[in-house]
Symmetry: C2
Subunit: 229 residues, 2 copies
Amino acid sequence: MSWSLETLGRIHSCYQEKFAVPRQPGLAPSAFATLELLPPYNQAALVEGLETFSHLWISFIFHQNLEQGWKPKVRPPRLGGNKKVGVFASRSTFRPNGLGLSVVKLEGIDLTSGVKLYLSGIDLIDGTPVVDIKPYIPWVDSQPTALSAWAAEPPESLVVSFLPKAEQKLASHPQGSHLKQLIIEVLAQNPRPAYQKITTERIYGVKLADLNVQFCYLDTKHLEVVAVD
Amino acid sequence: MSWSLETLGRIHSCYQEKFAVPRQPGLAPSAFATLELLPPYNQAALVEGLETFSHLWISFIFHQNLEQGWKPKVRPPRLGGNKKVGVFASRSTFRPNGLGLSVVKLEGIDLTSGVKLYLSGIDLIDGTPVVDIKPYIPWVDSQPTALSAWAAEPPESLVVSFLPKAEQKLASHPQGSHLKQLIIEVLAQNPRPAYQKITTERIYGVKLADLNVQFCYLDTKHLEVVAVD
């Protein structure tokens, strides 16, 4: 038995590609996106009262992963990328039905032309199709004492530093200070694949908002941004 | 653009009909269900490690409501059933795509024949098609300070009493004490539609597990179970 879900809206995100997107929402609070509702869902009536909530649930499709399908067991990055667990015991983006779920902060609603929701703390890549929006209701959704054995705490953050020329480049950008904070939050999540050994020689590149950010590992706990274009 | 989601599993629930199902999960902690995974998803591998989590997210389809469709604005019971808000500002079961989301407690996993997950605190009716299962991760999903203007606290509970003959009937049932607790939790949620005036003359009936429960309102804050068959 199958169910047909329509794309209700589309994400326009600071994350231009999958690489370096934090593995859960909220890890990079400076991350931002616009959720643009599509016809016939782009009417002000559908979001009336939404402004009284600070957080939303976004249900979405991992659209870039669907073709690759899923496997019964996955290797969560939190387990070092070598221990396997069942796909339903993980938040893997490769899963049956390819359905994603993120709690995000609602920063504002723009009704000047259709409906646009301004979101932050997102972990959604540009172009993500959204299939539901619900208000976050803390007395229902917040279960602070829930047990979560191997994912009980956020992952450890790495230290992020900048070469002077990268810092100068950011200083001259109109949103430079916000973007610098975003780069710090994103890179602190240790974006390289968990199975990859750290090598200090390799230069990684990631597109964040309108920037190309190049960085390298100085050691296992320390990243340096070497260029921003 | 549309997406095809398969039914991964089916809910066998103590709630045999929509009437009286609590409006959020967790309101009736004694509510119970079995989630039976369907082929090809009913392999032990897919749930390996799930037992280390106490709570799960269940994404499901409001399958009994799809035919009725949705409207841009809805009347949440919490607002007395007369004030309207946008459908995306509500957890209404009549919504575009008909996608539901519930946090539930995982009580156990049965792998003797296929895969069955024992759940509690559910708000899912019998037959509900499940389209995703994810572990609840408190440092991600628990946002206790989130603002939720008109739904900041659980609804007020009503007092539930039993006529002696109803009480006796429950005492002779093998799961009588659990079912009595379930009846109390369910009826305390004030199950009548919010737009309906209270009349002390009307006898309501609801099927819970294998019981037919009949009750009436004694006043606005007090329900009485008059018969259990």
